[in-house]
């Protein structure tokens, strides 16, 4: 069926105006004709506006979710770009394989993972998602569908990984999976006190754990406290179908009142989470779902933040500036009394992604989430930008709805190299703002 008017939302509850949905269910199908701009759409889990396009076609890929080939000996999987990580895990975990890199939700499409070159708790060892993409196919608006790999159309390959969907519609991806012997993760938790702990513990434990991240209680006054959460795949053979229940258990039926997330509820939530984890047994085996995707247990949790939605702010700075950047930004967030629940600190490793616009780079990444309070939030974020750029840092497009062209170009020095690969019809609200497209 043809295009149809529809409003699309990002995870931070930003929306499109004048967009039309176009269902791309088969990889041989052509894109809508004409010259109207277009953008591939997955599950809309990007927070800002990099996954939205006003007055254009949103090419929906949810039905483009077939497997194309799988080699059970090598773990090389080819699938269509609309496959979600949830669908892949359901398929590959019982067969002894795991996705090589996963963000904090499994309700993202493989195409989205490539377009944002997502990272996960294993970045310090594995690198980003793009490091495991062997080949991919892109539908360009001229009707061609080039196959891209490090050796074939390598420029387009490097531009598409982390390319924010601007190089065409990703049709399929060939991905190297990681072998596992158990669906469980041996989780290690450790309470953190003081700024230095966030860096010392992470560095000390990095070699011992494949996955690690530090959660920070941003509502706590004085010396910061948090939880270091790390884990490894359990290396003894256990039944592989044990990690099941994939569907969300709870669901927010609708947007909650704007006051639901406030200073008091956040304090309660943070303190509760801290105490629950700080005093619990440090080592235990947990199902992979609980370890990687705790928030997936509540479908549509973003609706708890009310009509204005939430804002995530994520940046990376070189290691040398890490402690200073964390201290300053946390101070500013706390002074503005806007801290929320998901504040995480993670050390990125040195593994280099093939992507030209890849966000992860050696250093420290910090992510704050904030309820959107309009102007007050905007002022705070401008203030945070000053710290980040003074520390030679970069902002993460997948979480952004406001970075300027200058901020984008400072964050991604290879933008000029990327531009020639942009498909003339592709655009997003993000690319329009940052001058990547008209």
């Amino acid at each position: 069926m043809g295009p149809h008017a529809k409003t699309f939302y990002s995870w931070g509850r930003r929306s499109t105006t004048g967009a039309q949905g176009f269902d791309l269910a088969w990889k041989e199908d052509s894109l809508p004709s004409g010259s109207t701009p277009l953008l591939a759409a997955g599950l809309g889990r990007s927070y800002g506006d990099s996954c939205l396009l006003d007055r254009g076609y949103m090419i929906e890929t949810g039905h483009l979710n077939r497997l194309i080939a799988f080699d059970s000996a090598t773990g090389l999987l080819t699938c269509e770009a609309g496959c979600t990580l949830a669908q892949l895990l359901e398929f590959c975990v019982p067969r002894g394989w795991f996705v090589p890199v996963t963000p904090g939700t499994k309700f993202v499409t493989v195409g989205g993972c490539v377009a944002n070159d997502v990272h996960g708790k294993n970045h310090h060892r594995a690198g980003s998602f793009g490091c495991f993409v062997q080949r991919l196919g892109v539908r360009r608006s001229d009707g061609t569908a080039p196959v891209c790999s490090p050796t074939e159309n390598s420029g387009l390959y490097r531009a598409t990984i982390g390319g924010l969907g601007l190089t065409g519609v990703i049709l399929w991806v060939e991905l190297q999976l990681r072998a596992i012997r158990s669906p469980k993760i041996r989780q290690h938790t450790e309470a953190l006190h003081g700024f230095d702990a966030f860096f010392d513990v992470a560095r000390r434990q990095e070699a011992a754990f494949e996955y690690s991240v530090a959660w920070l209680d941003a509502t706590h006054r004085g010396q910061p406290r948090g939880i270091f959460i790390a884990g490894n795949h359990v290396e003894t053979d256990t039944p592989l179908d044990a990690g099941a229940p994939p569907l969300p258990r709870l669901k927010l039926p609708r947007t909650l009142p704007d006051c639901t997330v406030n200073a008091w509820t956040l304090r309660l939530l943070n303190t509760g989470y801290y105490t629950a984890n700080a005093f619990r047994r440090a080592e235990r085996d947990v199902p992979y779902n609980g370890f990687f995707y705790p928030l997936d247990a509540v479908a549509d949790w973003n609706l708890a933040y009310g009509r204005k939605g939430l804002v995530q702010y994520q940046f990376v700075v070189p290691m040398a500036h890490g402690p200073e950047a964390l201290r300053e930004t946390l101070g500013k967030v706390q002074a503005a009394r806007q801290a929320s629940f998901l504040t995480v600190v993670k050390l990125f490793g040195a593994a280099e992604s093939p992507g030209l616009l890849s966000f992860p780079r050696p250093g420290v990444t910090v992510c704050f989430d904030l309820p959107n309070q309009g102007d007050a939030t905007a002022r705070l974020l401008d203030d945070l930008d000053r710290t980040v750029f003074a520390c030679e840092g970069a902002l993460y497009p997948a979480k952004d709805y406001r970075m300027s062209r200058a901020a984008f170009e400072r964050s991604f020095p290879r933008h000029a190299e990327f531009k020639p690969f942009i498909d003339p019809r592709c655009a997003s609200n993000f690319s329009r703002r940052t001058g990547l497209t008209a």
């Binding site: 069926m1 041989e28 039905h63 497997l67 194309i68 080939a69 799988f70 398929f91």
Partner: protein, 244 residues
């Protein structure tokens, strides 16, 4: 060893159901109209570890082609455990009102070819004394609605057809008629999704349950049975005034 004969294998419900059956001992005979799409479905089933997946195409309105595509299957596999008829089109009701000839294709795809295929398959199942027929209808076939009565009529015919076929094939071959509510699939991609929409995977799960229980008619999700019963009990005078 399990052999499955699928008519309209590129339909979202057929794909979801086939995936639920993918296993080393599962063999799929996929019949449909679009070879490239059928091949994508076959590749998916093979990647999931199915024993085999064969693609057969025919052209709408070509009875000989349909007969051959099915006959080839029976020659290759000798027997099928399940025959699933899932092909269907959802026409634009307003377009049909302007150009009534559009009703041709709707009836041909949704009704005539499914009946013809089922009759061909029934002959084989009868001789062999085994197998199961699963035919996809729709809640739209229960009550005529302003917005999709051409589609509804094409599905309603299958309901009566299945009733008769069930009597003919009982007790050895169960005939399951599935009435899904609106499903989030490419067929409905132009319709804004509401809470009433279900997924092809859920319909596939209902079908498996229906086969296990040897049900005659199932709704998917199940609450549509109650909804449709209530609507049918409403006085016609009121139903006539409904515009949705």
């Amino acid at each position: 060893m399990k052999n499955f004969l699928i008519l309209g294998a590129t339909s979202a419900i057929a794909q979801a159901w086939c995936r639920s059956q993918a296993a080393p001992d599962a063999h799929f005979w996929l019949v449909g109209r679009n070879e490239a799409r059928l091949s994508a479905v076959a590749a998916d089933l093979l990647a999931r570890g199915s024993g085999s997946a064969t693609v057969q195409t025919y052209i709408t309105g070509d009875y000989a082609g349909l007969d051959a595509a099915l006959g080839e299957g029976f020659r290759a596999h000798a027997h099928f455990d399940v025959f699933l008829a899932a092909q269907g089109v959802l026409p634009d009701q307003t377009a049909c009102e302007k150009d009534p000839r559009l009703a041709d294709e709707v009836m041909q795809v949704n009704t005539i070819e499914i009946m013809q295929a089922a009759l061909i398959v029934a002959g084989h199942f009868e001789t062999r004394g085994g197998g199961a027929c699963v035919i996809i209808g729709s809640v739209a076939g229960d009550v005529g609605r302003r917005t999709n009565y051409v589609y509804g009529a094409s599905k309603a015919a299958l309901d009566v057809f299945c009733e008769g076929l069930r009597q003919r094939l009982m007790p050895t071959v169960p005939v399951l008629f599935v009435k899904p509510g609106p499903v989030d699939s490419p067929m409905t991609s132009h319709i804004q999704k509401t809470a009433l929409f279900t997924t092809p995977e859920k319909v596939a799960a209902s079908i498996n349950k229906g086969i296990r229980n040897q049900s005659a008619v199932i709704y998917s999700p199940n609450h549509w049975r109650l909804i449709m019963t209530i609507i049918r009990l409403l006085p016609r005078k009121i139903v006539r005034r409904l515009q949705a």
